[in-house]
Amino acid sequence: MTIVIGEAFQHVERTLIGCRPNTSSVKPVHIANGLFRNILGYTTDTGMLNRFVFVAKKKDGAIPSGHELASIYGELLDNNRLMPEDIQESDIAELRSFLRKVVDADGGVYLHSQDMESYSAGFSGFISRDRVAQDGGELVAELLRLNNSQLYTSIERTIESPRDVITALSLPTLSINQREWVPSFDASTAQFLNKPLPGVPASLLAGLLKAADCLAEHVNLHPNKLVGLRTIVLYACFVVIRHLALLESYYVPNAERRILPFLLDFSPSERHPVARASVMTYTLVCQSISRFYAWALGEYLRTNRLFSIEALRQEPIPAYTQTSASSRERNEAERREIWELAKGESHNSEDPYSVFGQALHDIMALEASGNPIAYLRQLGLRSGLLRPPDNFHPSKRFAVQQDMLEVLVRGAVKPGECIDLPSLQARFLERYGVIIGGRREDEANLVGIGAYQADSNALADNLKAFATRLSRLGFAKLLADGVLRVELEG
């Protein structure tokens, strides 16, 4: 019997992770669509909007059937969605071009027939059945729902309101017909949502939910609905990334106290010790995810497939999918080498199942363009948590863009609240597992996980740069006695 790697991964995703981090195409717009549709419990027919904004295929300029200008104009006319005496076909052509740029700002709009369209907008009429990379957002919705988060009700109320300019601009192309939506992936069955977690990761998860409630207060007060939703989506992206970085501590024995912090880098150069230490914390997170998969796939082999170690040592090279099990696959030599090495190593390992689990993970990384680490990297880059964005630097660091920093601060400080900088740092650690430096325990924390690059002076500089950034954002004021006061207006 050949082991099918795809089935093993699906089992791990369904029972342990609660989403499928298996594509490097993930974007915040996908997380948003998944989050919103899970909360609403339905999608909407976005066919007319898609015909309106999808003018032609990028590849060859071909116009899909039904997307011709005359058809669009006729469709709007037939549905009484325009004033024919005042609007000509050429006006609609102009508007189509503009509207495409607005709702495709994140590059998530594809042909409706492919079920791969997510729109950069914030109203139920834009919620589609996109099947790509949606389940990360669906998982965050599930987490908020199960914990009765205030943010859940904020999203529900906001997303059902048509009062924003993008919705007003698109309103004649939107349908009011709701479509029943059943998630293809049931996030609610993941063990971490249903069983008690070890104390340390449980408290960080509780911290993330505390941040959600704090964020909800800001969102409810802000006059601009779209700004509020953008804040929520970035928060959801952070939660997905933090969740992946916690998997090892949720499940793997003896790892429950190992919370890997994200060191936020505010240093001026990528060669600065803090930048290098931040790269190390990112690398450690990636290694943690690999260790989790090795363990989880090993457990799959141990418990679900009833493989004995002796039987595994006789197994042929695992196949990627059931259909490819009998055919020759790409990278056969590399796959064979990985598998044979695992067989040899299993003789000397205390946990031979994890050795075979690691081999399955390595073969998957070889075969699939999208793997959990690539997923985390892309989502981190696109949501403004990681830098640099180019492919020349495979090692990323936690260097937040302004939008993401605002979200983290708003999740830590309530509207009208006033705290000092050490208190903000304590909340960052408690709610996000994020450190900045400048406190003795930060340096000890970094040394404890093996990130030695930044000494206390370098970390103190990082804290100063962070304080300057907060001041520039209008979130902090330096008082006459030298104390920095963090304050968000209420």
Partner: protein, 85 residues
Amino acid sequence: MAWPTRLFWPEFAHRLLAKVQRGLPALSLECDATRRLWQFMEQLDEPSWDFDEITIKLLDPATKSQLAVTVDVESRQYLTISKGD
């Protein structure tokens, strides 16, 4: 007001002019100071929803073209679409 509105005008103006000198369109800038300006505008750009008709003015920063679209939000109908100001 819920969100801070303070702008650092000297820094913003300095950075903006430096970028403009290099030919970058002002609206595609991403520096901290510009984002502060966007935040300020985001608080102001919420239209009044007390009317059935709303006019939305669009500016494409890449092509500089403009479009004004009037929508009847009750009947979900485009009323007028006009180029320019």
